[in-house]
Symmetry: C2
Subunit: 415 residues, 2 copies
């Protein structure tokens, strides 16, 4: 396909995967200014279908065929994008009944959908039992609701156990396991839960272990995967049936900031090959699943805002745009970041410019938090130019407080 | 009225202004469990109309009559609440055309509405000119759009100048002035803008200076107000007409965290009395306006979520609720806070309980960021109990990423 995809394959995920033509970023095969005209207004998120497909295929080619790939919808649940992912993945991971609706509408087979999360509401559990997807049990408190749904609906529930292991994913952006956690059932208590599942007569699907996310170090991921398999083999001894599926979580990180080195997937692929081979004897019949969200979609998306004003205040240049924190909280540095760093930002309509200056990208909000780029060296831009925040395909649109200051919500397009 | 309001008057704003009856928080005169039944589902935000009114009146009684009070809608633009505030305030401050619509629908006179913010879109400027509200100009780039709107609509625009002063509000949670800023026109360049306004023949309304927000130190506020008046008097020399309105901003903070001492408003009131007296000679005919958002509404609101599960993981108690970060970003510590601190949280259905334990309040999201209370000493709660985050009337509902993980949005009620 196009050259950037090759870079992307080589590097795991690269930071700017979009081609440039006549000084403009090309997204979904369309120059940015034309795409903006097609969308009809700014700001908007655009996701590049070609990049999504190429990246998923490239990853698939790297990984051993025995490994199944699931898409964690929470990263980006845009319906058209999910529809595309259904065709590329072996299954979907859901975090709410809202995501389940989108997955079902996209035509995904409920047997390859798994629903995880603490605090599942009773009605969500009923919905999941009715749909026939796998429920990753995170607390024994879910069992009576699943029982009631089974009786009320006359359906045999499909359940797996989400385990809170006794280890964590090292070097991860977010740790979701080890020590006391709201996620999953503590490993040492899993046998009790497995006993309950057996007595209830639910269909036992397997285990789900998600130890953390956003790691750029392959050895940390390999280490967690190995421990995950070992723990699953141990826990399987108390299971009411064979493990059909072992969801090993994800954790594959993407580079956002200067100095971030893209994850090297090759050692992870080799590790998975070895583990899959081992599992043929230690967990016979089990499918090993890797669950990825951000890693599959982050690079394919950009957030596009129009420059309304180039304002110079006491020597500092502010590009005031029609977009900001309310549309892209993570890029403003207010979503779990301790230290604010600049996301990769480009002036998508001046990609060939050589006349650069230090500019801050701000939005229309009445708060100094509304900062998409802090004193970045960028082409000198003018009102009408389009500023793009790259690496915005995951945890962008849905992770942002759209209602803040009552501005219009951004548009989302898949191109 | 009720006792808590008296506490509130005494202390500026107190942290828990709601009465307790039969072990339950009473909001808008209704026990919490009954209110939850009236709302029909959890989670929800509830704002107490009686507290809003009592607090506004108490503040009014403290301040000199010459000072006008404006409500900054950005803090909470819920239409019913804005309607209430219109009846209590002398005017409204708007941050977007979306807020302007709510203000107009609430029956507010456009002549006491002022519209501030960087990056006003051209169509927003047209709307503001058409409505007849005051536009606080933050950049010379707004002038041609206002000119075009004036010509196109045959309306004489009402404009003020938002000034980026050469000082800042000390000890403030957010600094919005001093040094290079996207907000307002640098003080030293204001005379040029005033000249342009005169040549355009726009109606000159006055000045807007907003130096910062969320200060608990009255002397810092007094200092900023004094400097604001001095600067306005100096700038008025170049104005194309008399200053009708001087919006001195706000900055009045509220206590959220243990150790926060409520703002003592009395010295601020005395300072305003002196300044208003001075202004009768230095800015004859000018109305002095104080613009408050958070201070007027924060204490009156609570966010209510239901406990779905009391989960013990490796000795730590997690109250897993149906609400979380997606509904209340600030309480999770992810909205501008450098160090996460616990918002005031109570179990609203167990206010008399003596059996307490260390509990973490979490939500249904698949991220460790989803934390409304970190190891707080709280009554031992069970599924069905209602957890309340106090001090949630400002920057709660609209400042949160409702779409995150595709859960239902919270309800908002004014009781």
């Amino acid at each position: 396909m196009n050259a950037p995809v090759n870079d992307l394959l080589a590097a795991g995920v690269c930071v700017n995967p979009f081609p440039v033509e006549n000084g403009e970023l090309v997204v979904g095969g369309m120059p940015l200014s034309r795409l903006a005209a097609r969308v009809g207004r700014t700001p908007f998120y655009a996701y590049d279908r070609g990049l999504l497909i190429a990246h998923a295929r490239a990853l698939r080619a790297l990984l051993p065929p025995a490994i199944h790939l699931h898409y964690a919808m929470k990263a980006n649940p845009m319906p058209a994008l999910v529809q595309t992912m259904v065709g590329l993945m072996d299954g979907l991971d859901l975090a709410s009944a809202g995501e389940m609706k989108v997955a079902l509408d996209a035509g995904c087979d409920p047997r390859v959908m798994s629903f995880a999360g603490p605090g599942k509401r009773p009605e969500e559990l009923w919905q999941a039992v009715a749909a026939g997807c796998t429920i990753n049990i995170e607390s024994d408190a879910e069992l009576p609701h699943i029982r009631a749904a089974a009786d009320g609906l006359g359906v045999r529930p499909r359940v797996a156990v989400r385990v809170n292991p006794d280890f964590e994913l090292k070097s991860s952006g977010m740790k979701m396991a080890g020590g006391p956690k709201q996620f999953g059932i503590d490993a040492e208590r899993v046998p009790t839960t497995l006993g309950s599942i057996g007595r209830e007569g639910f269909e036992f699907v397997g285990f789900h272990l998600y130890s953390g996310s956003q790691t750029l170090r392959s050895e940390a991921i390999c280490d967690a995967q190995r421990k995950t398999l070992e723990l699953a083999v141990r826990l399987a001894q108390d299971a009411p049936g064979p493990v059909q599926v072992l969801n090993m979580g994800g954790g594959f990180g993407v580079p956002y900031f200067p100095g971030d080195v893209p994850l090297d997937v090759a050692p992870v692929a080799e590790n998975l090959r070895v583990l899959a081979e081992e599992a043929r004897t230690t967990l016979p019949g089990a499918t090993l699943v890797i669950e990825l969200g951000r890693y599959l979609v982050a690079h394919s998306g950009i957030y596009v805002a129009k420059v309304l004003d180039r304002k110079v205040s006491r020597g500092q240049v502010f590009l005031v745009t029609d977009g900001g924190l309310h549309h892209h909280l993570a890029a403003s540095g207010n979503f779990g970041q301790v230290i604010r760093k600049n996301y990769p930002v480009v002036v998508g309509t001046r990609m060939d410019a050589t006349d650069t200056e230090s500019s801050s990208i701000v939005g229309p909000l009445c708060t100094p938090l509304d900062l998409l780029g802090d004193r970045m060296e960028l082409p000198r831009a003018e009102p009408g130019d389009l500023v793009c925040v790259l690496m915005s395909g995951a945890y962008g649109y849905t992770s942002s407080p759209h209602l803040f200051l009552s501005h219009p919500a951004p548009v989302e397009v898949l191109v």
